[in-house]
């Protein structure tokens, strides 16, 4: 069985994995990161989105062996010292969720969007989240939350 080394939310793990083990199952079942849900079987829904070496990826469509040597950040690695990340807080404030299943992936995709579009327009937000489905039809509040999160992250950068 291949042995991989992977850093998840700042902690480095060595794991023996079956080649067919998906990254999302490694995260959930072996490393306890159940904040990353499994949504669909076909990389459509984006619920399982994580950061893989700094870029968003759908962890249901990555083998754990492909992540060997990589740095993974899940929804659980965003906050610091028990406080929420500004984007998480914005989702909370704007009530950008109903059932919450899509939320971890939405938050990760939103943060990924801001990497090169720190002040996104509504259109850019909708394009940036095109790979993430919400089935409670909550997109209006999600777009508002991403806008607010972007503003707060911008302020955090300016004041730090």
């Amino acid at each position: 069985m291949p042995r991989i080394t992977v850093t998840v939310d700042g902690i480095t793990y060595q794991e023996d994995v079956e080649p067919r083990l998906l990254l999302v199952h490694l995260l959930r079942e072996r490393l306890g990161r159940t904040g990353t849900p499994v949504g669909c079987d076909t990389s459509n829904c984006g619920a399982c989105t994580v950061m893989l070496d700094g870029k968003s990826a759908k962890s249901c469509s990555v083998l754990a062996v492909q992540a060997d040597g990589c740095d993974v950040v899940t929804i659980e690695g965003l906050g610091a010292n028990g406080s929420m990340h500004p984007m998480q807080r914005a989702f909370h404030e704007e009530h950008a969720l109903q059932c919450g299943y899509c939320t971890p992936g939405m938050v990760m995709a939103a943060i990924d969007l801001l990497r090169d579009t720190p002040e996104p327009s509504e259109e850019a937000i909708r394009e940036g989240l095109e790979g993430n489905l919400c089935r409670c039809t909550g997109y209006c509040n999600i777009v508002r939350a991403v806008k607010r999160g972007a503003q707060e992250m911008g302020q955090a950068v300016r004041t730090s």
């Binding site: 998906l22 990389s43 249901c60 469509s61 083998l63 790979g131």
Partner: protein, 284 residues
């Protein structure tokens, strides 16, 4: 679903990869995995072994060369759409790459992978066909070049032979005076096109002098809309162009599926070709 069992190997050189490919007839090449992993999860494919080429430097990067842009097989869609060489040398490729799936898939999905997958519903096969790209394949025996017109053999079947790996694609640079557009019709933001149309046109003195049109999802392979290309020569924007684009579905064999019947796809091909030609020709 969880994929069926397979072996996995990550070769450290192309030579090593060729040995692994020769080790079993059900070996499959893995790059970004954005087409292959869903197939494995749906258990539509049962490879015995995956040969992960994703870290081989010989297949990486985008290279600006004299008369063409060489896009390495491992260049991701994200890399391709942002590449200055691609945007300047073959803008149609950048336009289409930016519409592939969604940002997370574009971060991992590769240019070479989606072409070698040879899905007629893919965006990029129609684009590379329209631009007369040249595929570069390597095997233990050496290297050969395959023109796009001969690369797409049948549904999900390319001209790559067992033991061969696609190293990249040469996209010829078109000179001045060309305009480009990629137009597709799809159900949801990140879904495959029901029909896609890739267009390059050269315009001068108010008329279209030359047109190249690639169609996605209008047959078991991507197709050139040759009848429309011929009909468009010398036409002016307006009724002439509209009439010429009416030939876009000539010679096609569109599939029937849940989303569209063949006659509807033919209709879409005509309408989308007209839109794409107008936009590429700079119509207001």
């Amino acid at each position: 679903m969880i994929p069926a069992q397979f072996d996995y190997v990550r070769p450290d050189s192309l030579a090593h990869a060729f040995r692994e490919l020769a080790s079993d007839e059900d070996v499959k090449v893995l790059a970004g995995g954005q087409s292959l992993l869903p197939l494995l999860r749906l258990r539509l494919a049962y490879p015995s072994k995956l040969v992960d080429v994703a870290r081989l430097p010989e297949l990486a990067g985008v290279h600006d060369r004299d008369d063409h842009v060489f896009i390495g097989a491992l260049a991701t869609h994200d890399e391709v759409m942002r590449s200055a060489a691609v945007r300047q040398g073959c803008p149609l490729v950048a336009l289409a790459a930016a519409t592939v799936a969604d940002p997370a898939v574009r971060h991992r999905g590769t240019f070479g992978g989606s072409l070698a997958h040879a899905d007629p519903a893919g965006d990029l096969p129609a684009v590379v066909l329209a631009l007369d790209g040249v595929f570069v394949a390597r095997s233990a025996e050496g290297e050969r070049e395959i023109p796009a017109a001969r690369f797409f053999v049948d549904y999900l079947e390319s001209a790559l032979r067992p033991g061969e790996i696609l190293t990249g694609v040469k996209i010829p640079k078109l000179g001045d005076g060309w305009g480009f557009h990629y137009e597709k019709f799809h159900r949801t933001a990140q879904a495959w096109p029901i029909v896609g149309v890739a267009v390059a046109v050269r315009r001068s003195n108010g008329a279209i002098q030359e047109a190249r049109i690639g169609l996605a999802n209008m047959a078991p392979t991507p197709l050139r809309a040759r009848a429309a290309e011929t009909a468009l020569q010398g036409t002016e924007l307006g009724d002439q162009v509209r009439q010429a684009c009416g030939e876009a579905a000539t010679g096609t064999a569109p599939p029937a599926d849940l989303h569209a019947q063949p006659d509807y796809r033919r209709h879409l091909a005509r309408v989308l070709t007209h839109r794409a030609v107008r936009t590429a020709a700079g119509a207001p």
